[in-house]
Amino acid sequence: MPKGNQTTDVENLRQRLKLKALQSETKLLSSHPAAKKFFLGVGLRPGQIRTHAAKLLASGTLAGSLLLSVPAIPILTVSPPVVVTQPISSLLPSQIGPLTFDQENILSKRIKQDYGLNAYATLEGNKLLQSYGRMGAEQHLPRYPGDTAAAHGNLIEKGITPGLGGWGYVGNPEVEKYYVAVQTLYLPDWKTRTKYLANWYKHRRMLVINPANGKAIVTAVADAGPSWWTGKHFGGSPEVMQYLEINYGRQNHPVIMFFLDDPNKQVPLGPVQYNQNNQFNKS
């Protein structure tokens, strides 16, 4: 088919589908006056709900107060105040999912208290879709051309990925040892700010905590994923999974994933522990 005809066909299809969408929107709003009033009030068209959801997830501006003002529906639980004796898991909602701004703030304070680290769900305006989600097991990543699982020396039975990580050969062995994968591809602005975001996320320091046992580890982003259909939100290197003790069963366990605010990279990669002087040290 000549290119000109094909372009006309596509434009024609686009116009017809837009008309169908407009008709269904009109039907929706004319059938339900309350919905019409509501959407007008919030300045949103009903078909834009996915874009709106993406913005909410990216900004973390969940309307927690709005949710909590509807007592009939226990959508999200209120996090209790920070008390040292409470396990960190008690600060999390019962269901895995995006946290509210308040929940993230409380967790940041608790992390500072427990580990002496500055870690946040939002850093320099960047935010993952979820800061509390499921982490799955990843294989070793190639550090250089010709790298093998055996050359990693530890957990070689986990294998090595046939392809490269999201940022190519990892290079730094410490980064590979303690790497995580995050879902950068699903960030709402990934397609429009790819270059900036790819650079920002490359080897970005992340603090990962297993809320079930309180174990925490400083990691670096070196791969993108997992795919959304896996039901997992993050991936962890064999060493990360092992240290956090989530390398059992289906290897699909909840973790807290916060950005480490450490511009000078003074905090080394690897496990962190709390000691009596409120100083972290490598174990």
């Binding site: 589908l17 269904s24 039907k27 929706l28 709106h52 909410l56």
Partner: protein, 108 residues
């Protein structure tokens, strides 16, 4: 990747297969899928509001707007709607899909 609480009820593989015949560029495909997504949401929202008691519309819309992805919304609808809301949503998706596929198959 943003999720809506009823996304698991939306399966549009057959629409995607129909679209393949148009040899769309990535950008064209993205735009058209966006329009299709809007159309499906209109149908689904219409079905939900049709079956949800009117006095609950404001409450539902407020929560849906605040957390469109929250799984508790489906439980809420199951509680408030006397009929099987998942079947109603799936039915709305099927209806929207039929309309879309018919448009895609039209010659001009």
């Amino acid at each position: 990747m943003s999720k809506i609480f009823y996304d698991h009820l939306i399966v549009i593989d057959d629409v995607l297969i129909e679209l393949e015949r148009h040899k769309l560029t990535a950008l064209e495909r993205q735009e058209i899928l966006g329009i299709i997504d809007q159309h499906v949401h209109h149908h689904v929202l219409n079905a939900i509001l049709t079956h949800l008691p009117k006095e609950k519309h404001g409450q539902f819309l407020n929560i849906f707007h605040a957390a469109p992805y929250h799984k508790d919304l489906l439980d809420y609808l199951k509680k408030e709607v006397s009929e099987d809301i998942e079947t109603k949503i799936s039915g709305a998706v099927e209806k929207a899909k039929k309309e879309i596929i018919a448009e895609i198959r039209k010659k001009k």
